[in-house]
Amino acid sequence: MECQECHQRPATLHYTQVSNGNKHEVHVCEVCAKEKGYILPNSEEGYSLHDLLKGLFNFENPKVNHTSKSPFQTTKEIQCPSCGMTLTQFKRISKFGCAECYHTFSDKLDPIFRRVHNGNIKHAGKIPKRRGGHLHLKKQLDTIRKSYAN
């Protein structure tokens, strides 16, 4: 399949964009994907996280747009108290502004992490050596429990 933008190189990236309930298929080569902003030029990831997040949020809460049109209601935007990042900004740039954002947007994150990390939402790796404190003990306990369970 050839790239739909340049019609020269073969299409190596294939997306289904969902916006406002409409599906739209995109087949492009990597060069055009970068030029047209489907993927970030420097990202190590081969697909657009931005599109992914946009799709997820729209899907998750399709009614919000309707209520906000009412002149008597103002929608309250979720905003990180620490760095000021709003949910809308997070959706647009697909980047957290600070550590606190993870708590601020915590309710919205599981579906995103599941999609990005093969269904996983919980950390299972290293704990900081110095600052990990009781977590090291907890991890050891977990390991012992698991070894008994088997």
Binding site: N42, C83, G84, V116, H117, N120, K122, H123, A124, K129
Partner: protein, 354 residues
């Protein structure tokens, strides 16, 4: 160790050693993303916050050493010329993004260039550690110790549930990207690799050409890395990656053997034509150079070419990049001038060797 050294030597000291499975695996890399717990991430931070971090790293780590990684050189990206920045990127010592954030970004690079700690990239800290050949376990163990060493002075953003917190949701958890650089000429020539990529992707791993675009990579050098960073331990991620790399090595070796058996003369012809062109051409584009170099490297690995060194692909791939050529010429060059200089540098290099 000075900046001049990083600029003049195309090939990092650690790359001169041929690591395990070095005929196929060029290098193994572990990269860890970390952030300060109490500072906004670079994407939203005020300049003064980032400048504070910049100064902190200069004060605490300039000319320090950690284990075998001696005498960290602290490089403020804002002090570099455009060409100097290009060279550091072409050597994979820093990322393109680091050079874009030039106002406050910096890098700490060890004398042997095996360790590079990027400051104020997408995250506050991106440390990367290289090993020659296929040595992911060694690279991981060393990287985790390096991480502990930095943690002595920095409180990392960490959450019990989400792990190490990063600016991009794709890095959260371990913050680790493990990758292996592989030269896969036989799998590319026989078009087997393209058929294997979907299966590899399903395991949460990514294959990409490192010098070219898309799956048609330049020089048939590919990077295999993990996509998933959350929900698996560092060791498990490495194990999955190792399994796939091991299989690719086996397949590549088999494909090379079959090529030699079934079309030995054609393969030899292809390799020696490329060798001849590199030895004698007067103008050569980067794409052609990369592919000819890959042929010659294959010829060396198959013992068809005996008096050249294995590191020739690594070295000439870097030397023939635009930044390096212009650094060598000490001026900006047009594309045509670059093609002429590239051909001449390759000719010279092959003459030294023979």
């Amino acid at each position: 160790m000075t900046l001049r050294h990083f600029m003049n030597e195309a090939i990092s000291p650690w790359m001169r050693e041929q690591g395990p499975d070095g005929d196929i695996v060029l290098s193994s890399r572990i990269r860890l993303a970390r952030n300060f717990a109490d500072k906004p991430f670079p994407i939203v931070a005020e300049l003064q916050d980032l400048e504070g971090i910049h100064q902190f790293f200069k004060k605490e780590y300039e000319h320090t050493s950690f284990k075998d990684y001696q005498d960290f050189e602290f490089i403020s990206i804002r002090n570099l010329s455009t060409i100097e920045k290009m060279v550091l990127v072409e050597k994979h010592l820093v990322s393109p993004l680091l050079t874009k954030n030039a106002q406050t970004s910096a890098a700490l690079i060890s004398k042997n260039e095996q360790v590079s700690i990027m400051v104020n990239e997408e995250d506050h800290i991106r440390m990367q550690l290289y090993y020659p050949g296929f040595q992911l376990n060694n690279a991981l163990n060393e990287a985790l110790e390096l991480d502990d060493w930095l943690e002595e002075k920095v409180n990392f953003a960490f959450d019990e549930k989400r792990g190490y917190l990063t600016s991009c949701p794709t890095n959260v958890g371990t913050g680790m990207r493990a990758s292996v650089m592989m030269h896969l000429p036989a799998l590319t020539l026989t078009k087997q690799l393209n058929r294997m990529i979907p299966a590899i992707n399903q395991l949460g791993l990514v294959v990409r050409g490192i010098y070219g675009e898309g799956s048609e990579s330049l020089g048939k050098v590919f990077q295999i890395s993990n996509q998933t960073t959350l929900g698996k331990s560092e060791e498990d991620i490495i194990e999955d990656l190792q399994g796939v790399v091991q299989q690719l090595i086996t397949h590549e070796r088999n494909a090379r053997k079959r090529l030699m058996e079934q079309s030995g003369v054609q393969l030899e012809d292809r390799i020696f034509r490329s060798y001849g062109i590199l030895k004698h051409s007067r103008i050569i584009e980067s794409k052609e150079a990369a592919n000819r170099l890959s042929d010659v490297r294959l010829g060396i690995d198959l013992d068809l070419i005996q008096d050249e060194s294995h590191s020739i692909l690594n070295e000439l791939m870097v030397v023939t990049q635009p930044g390096f050529l212009q650094h060598y010429a000490k001026k900006t060059l047009t594309a045509n001038e670059r093609d002429i200089l590239r051909a001449s540098l390759i000719r010279e290099r092959l003459r030294i060797e023979a």
